[in-house]
């Protein structure tokens, strides 16, 4: 089987639950995309309704850095 590269893998914080489904968030497959580029990632999300959580550290860290790189390409 082809191994899929995952750019970022974030564990779900135990205290986070989906406000609607009341399910604890779990790590699941998601995709970031910007300016025609896509990046498979694993992010905390609701196992039921698939609501995704992007933590602040990720948004202002790696995500911002990659955004800038793509903008300067």
């Amino acid at each position: 089987m082809e191994e899929k590269k995952v750019y970022e893998s974030i564990e779900a914080d135990a205290s986070l639950v989906c406000g609607q489904c009341q399910e604890p968030l779990v790590k699941g497959s998601a995709k970031f995309s910007y300016m025609g580029n896509a990046f498979p990632v694993e992010l905390p999300m609701c196992p039921k309704c698939k609501l995704i959580y992007v933590p602040e550290e990720l948004a202002l860290g790696r995500v911002l850095k990659v955004e800038k790189e793509l903008e300067d390409k």
Binding site: S15, V66, K73
Partner: protein, 702 residues
Amino acid sequence: MQVFQPSATFGRIVSSVCEAPCEAGCKLSELNSGINIRRLERASVMYGQYNQKKRFFISKKNKKTAVIGEDLFCLSAAYELAKKGYDVDVFSEYGALGESLDETLKGRVSREDILADMDIFKDMPVVFHFNRAPSKQSVEEILTTHEAVVLEQKIFASLFADGEIDAQTLQTSVDKIFTRKETSLPIIGAIADGKKAATTVDRTLQGVSVLEGRKNEGSYETTLYTSLDGVAPDKPVVPKGKEYTKEEAVEETQRCIHCECLECVKGCAYLKHYKSYPKKYVREIYNNLSIAAGHHTANTMINSCALCGQCKNICPFGLDMSMVCHLARQTMVETAKMPPSAHEFALLDMEHANGEEYFLAKHQSGTDKSSYLFFPGCQFGAIAPQTLQAIYADLSGRLKGGVGLMLGCCGIMANWAGQEAMFDRALQRLKEQWEELGKPTIVTACTMCNSVFEEFTEMKTVTIWQVLKEIGLPPGVTATSLEKAAIFDACGARDDEESRKIVRDMARQLGYEVHDLKYNHETSPCCGYGGLAAFANRQVAREMTDFAAGLDEAPYLTYCINCRDRVGREKSANHVLELIYGKDDIDSPSLSQRRYNRAKVKKQLLEEVWKESVMEKQNEIQITLHEGVEALLDERMILEEDIIKVIEQAEKTKCAILDRKTNHLIASRRVGNVTFWVEYEKENEQYRIYRAYSHRMMVEEA
């Protein structure tokens, strides 16, 4: 010391006996005595790693040239011709290499040094023919087998008594023969002439113009401007022995002030930030624009310039980084290479200023024509709404013929962003409104708006300064107690000497004892707002503001509301119009408050002046910012209205994440090109905001 090695041919000879015309050219000689360059060169030969030059690649020309004579001029020419790829035959009446020099430099340069300098001919296509006394016959023979002949000056003089020499090219009246004219510099002048003759020979044999582009050959007066401000006259180091010791040489080099013109860099925090100088920046920007694919490393630098034109006015030669960066931005926009995040917030702010919450164009209440149209600008309403209302009340009361009001942005934000089409559209709209109002004279409160209208439109403008000078200060405004203040000039007034003068006069009239800053009038630095620097690079903009605020201890008087806002966050600062018309209670509003201010001033004016009833936009969501969040939002350029949109959606769809530890909700929403995240808690009928952040990437389930 490294400079010396690659450029000097015959370094040991030169460092011993060079006439050193350079020493008089050294800037320090204007103070006392120039750097002792000859002795330093000697020291670099004695103590440095002065080895043979590195081999360089030579492309063979397969043409034979000859040199007759063996003085420094001839040897230099031979070396330079060989370097250019010519085969060189050197004919000398002496018996061995260096003998001629040994004779002429006896007692001044040691034999060892002379021979060591001759090592440069090793592995070069130069063949020496010794014991060949020159004669007219031998020269003619050599001319039949060689394409060009360089002659020692005294040989030329004896063989061609009435021959003429062109001092600029070293061509002579004899075909294929080149020589030099005697000068006052027998050492360094001869070596330089050898190089010059080789260049002429090369160009002649290649069939290209002998003269073109040779203006700056050899030594020439530099155009480099170096200020000696703050340089104390000192004495050169005198060697205890015949030449410098290593320590003495180092001490002498420390006198060097490193001639370079960084006058513009000294006055601009942006130019300082990138730790280099404009010539290099221009090259980087050029490269940045040239590459099609790959990393555009200079984008942020291009977008961080304030475009204020200070450098152009400081530079003795008018080098204009603003123009370079501005053109670069326009090119980036045209070629779709402008980073989308760079100016988006600013352009949305311009859209807001020209949108329904702020834009307005009306005749004075109760009239249907206007002689004047007050245009306070987009930021005046955002930062000083009460001052704006007071100014309008005064102008409409005292100016005759009707004073209309136009609220909006002059378009400079789009211009700064390199968005020419957007800039044109904004101007076009203002123009149409102005025509509809009967083409009144526009009274500007912002020097930037004024310069935009003057440069890009046919709309007639007067500055508020001209108006107030004409009609005088409003009644009741008198001089307060005598205070000292420094005038902080606006970049929009670079070409507006009259405003700069009126502002100073007016400040004095108001009781201030004013003085100029170190950088003043057309060379004042940017406050950090110009060129959208604050949106594209908050760090550089902050450095600009710190630099501007740090120029003087005294409180500042400004006449641009952005200068007052930014500098006023660092030190005591007032806008001259605030001294006249009063200051708002909150004088440094947040990004969100600026938007509220715009909407509020429009509403109040419509209600109070035009007696129109205005529907107030009511948000169902009322938010309270937790401690520290307001500053965080400004830092991250997030508006309260973005937060409200997130909560509105989350409350409707119930899509939010609950943190059981804090009982806070975390929700997100895509607004335009940005996803906003908000952490909040419902508190009675309000929402308390704990933090917010954003990203531009889209995220979705895979």
